[in-house]
Symmetry: C2
């Protein structure tokens, strides 16, 4: 098999600095474990807009389609707030998700033991937490038509459309059930079937797929508002959560916070298998571009490094190597290494972004 | 002025039992404080469906339109899951909100000192918390057309429409700014302007109203996903939050949980002033009908009693009497009275629903 290709899109804000640490890890795997990748870099988001006047150049899109996996840093920043909606940095990311058809966004919320004290939630509520949110990523209100701001009489009207087809729901439900089988064997599906017809269809299709193909997995349903509440109250009741694009956006951010810092959370966005059997895939930290701390060496690279671990697991069938990397991070944290976002009140001096990257390489 | 009218709609599940405690409080105000109300009862939700085949009879709707204030318990239950969407219990509540045009839903999230230990969040994160979520309640994806489940080829498609007009946004923004002036003078507006055009219009209109009419109030904007996260991380950063119907549904449930129990949280849904100057108004606890504990005397009546306190404040201009009632509840809790939902691990025997009601009356 030829060397697998990795397309790196650092993006904006802290994206480049956290990605620089991932590159150190990739190099380590090439040198020490014989896992070589054919790495190339390109632009996305504001960085792409600055150079090309578009948040994602067609050439970059084409390279992403061909890559064995894409690693993305983050997009966006206040500098781009004035841009027209159609060329905002976020559109670059959304185009990647849509055109690569990355329908299953996996967002694990795991609490590292060493950080259990750091959450705003009580230690017993979050210690040992290990849940997986599967968010539908290519449809729903993010992409539905009609959309826009229209004039009606002398008023403006803002419109977006939530739209889900049966097959869109079915395929992401399957992803969730498959994952559950390899974990705690439980899926909780969240929607607002009590007020939205699209939620009724969601519930019906998830139930049908369950009955026909995954009756061995335990399935429950919850309204998304109750879900938000239960995530704050007793998150350990969940194993896999499956939900739509917009609910997934909010619920996964809330879940992320449970673990203490957004600087810790990776994600994988997976599509259908390519010819070589690998799924189309993009990996990115859940955190944003954090323009307020960009370029200062304060950012926590762990979310981005853990995203690469997900790439090892889901794109390259290297689950053991992924676990090795996760264990190295666990060890570094247990030894007390902290970036600025992870500091409590105990007066530890924080590591810089690059010191944290070096510590992880050393622990490997 | 004639005796003000109160229409009581206990609804389903624990609705009737918590409402029975509110009636005790109403009677106390009549007897002891000379605040008389002309109280009548009617059906809503599953209870109305059982009797009339509709979750809200037209006569009830007409009475609600005329009432000086409506007090609602809760609607829904598994028994009604099989019903067609159009006659589900929730449709009764949604019809009340829509036809009374109750566009501003006020959901305070306050943490009582006596309960600060009870939250799943750390005590310092929630002690003294006092935020107000203003949720738009009559528009957005709850009511937008087209909606439904359609057949396309041989697939079903679920559709809902998010739709906001300028004036719908403007009026709820004004409600939020007005409230902020009487509180901490800060408003944070939440949407997803980075992915939804309706969010862009929301942000623009809130900003315009702010500049033109409320420049003295501090305004900030946050994406709703970041908002969900910040509510879990450091909720005290907020004073008033203003957001749309769907985001408000999720965010207010998450915020509710911060305070320790959903059994504590009231809400007011306000519309335009009637001829007598009072706003159209419906008051209801944030919690649902909790069918699993219904009829067992386990429910916490405080959310419903606090909803009546909001009625005293917002409909009847009796802010001092509202505070009296809130203080009585504070005292009862400080004295250690707890319903089953509020029990920690210290082996206190819980009060029944009606014992809690009696304790509040005694404290008054
Ligand atoms: C940056 C933004 C477009 C994105 C989203 O809303 O999906 C982000 O919040 C996320 O969750 O990945
Ligand atoms: C019961 C339901 C229709 C309702 C809603 O979604 O608005 C409830 O969750 C609420 O928040 O009042």
């Amino acid at each position: 098999m030829s060397t697998p290709s990795l397309l790196i899109l650092p993006g904006d804000g802290i994206g480049p600095e956290v990605m620089a640490e991932v590159v150190k890890i990739i190099d380590w795997y090439g040198d020490k474990r014989g896992l070589k990748f054919d790495v190339s870099h390109d632009l996305v988001g504001g960085a792409a807009y600055d150079k090309h006047g578009t948040p994602l150049h067609d050439d970059t899109m084409a390279r992403a389609q061909k890559a064995d996996a894409v690693l993305l840093g983050a997009v966006g920043g206040p500098k781009y707030d004035v841009l027209d909606f159609s060329v905002k940095p976020e559109r670059g990311l959304l185009r990647l998700r849509k055109e690569m058809d990355l329908y299953a966004n996996l967002r694990p919320a795991q609490c590292f033991d060493a950080l259990a004290d750091f959450s705003s939630l009580k230690k017993d509520v979050v210690a040992g937490l290990d849940i997986m949110i599967v968010r539908e990523l290519t449809s729903g209100i993010y992409f539905g038509e009609p959309r826009g701001i229209f004039k009606e009489g002398n008023e403006r009207v803002g419109v977006n459309t939530q739209r889900y087809t049966e097959s869109e729901i079915a395929r992401v439900a399957r992803s969730a059930f498959e994952l559950a089988r390899r974990r705690g064997n439980k899926v909780c599906s969240m929607e607002k079937a009590n007020v939205m017809e699209s939620g009724i269809l969601w519930r019906d299709v998830v139930t049908e797929i369950h009955q026909a193909e995954y009756a061995d997995v335990e399935l429950s349903h919850m309204y998304a508002d109750a879900g938000a509440m239960q995530l704050c109250r007793w998150p350990k009741q969940f194993d896999v959560i499956v939900t739509d694009n917009l609910f997934g956006d909010l619920l996964s951010d809330a879940a992320a916070m449970l673990t203490g810092s957004l600087g810790m959370l990776p994600s994988a966005s997976l599509g259908a298998p390519m010819e070589n059997g690998r799924p189309k895939a993009l990996y990115e930290p859940v955190h944003g571009s954090a323009p307020d701390i960009a370029g200062q060496g304060k950012a926590n690279p762990i979310a981005c490094v853990l995203s690469f671990a997900m790439a090892l697991r889901y794109s390259f069938d290297q689950g053991d190597e992924a676990t090795r990397l996760e264990n190295a991070i666990e060890k570094v944290l247990a030894d007390g290494a902290r970036t600025a976002d992870l500091l409590g009140e105990d007066g530890v001096t924080p590591l810089s972004t690059s010191q944290m990257g070096d510590a992880i390489v050393a622990a490997l």
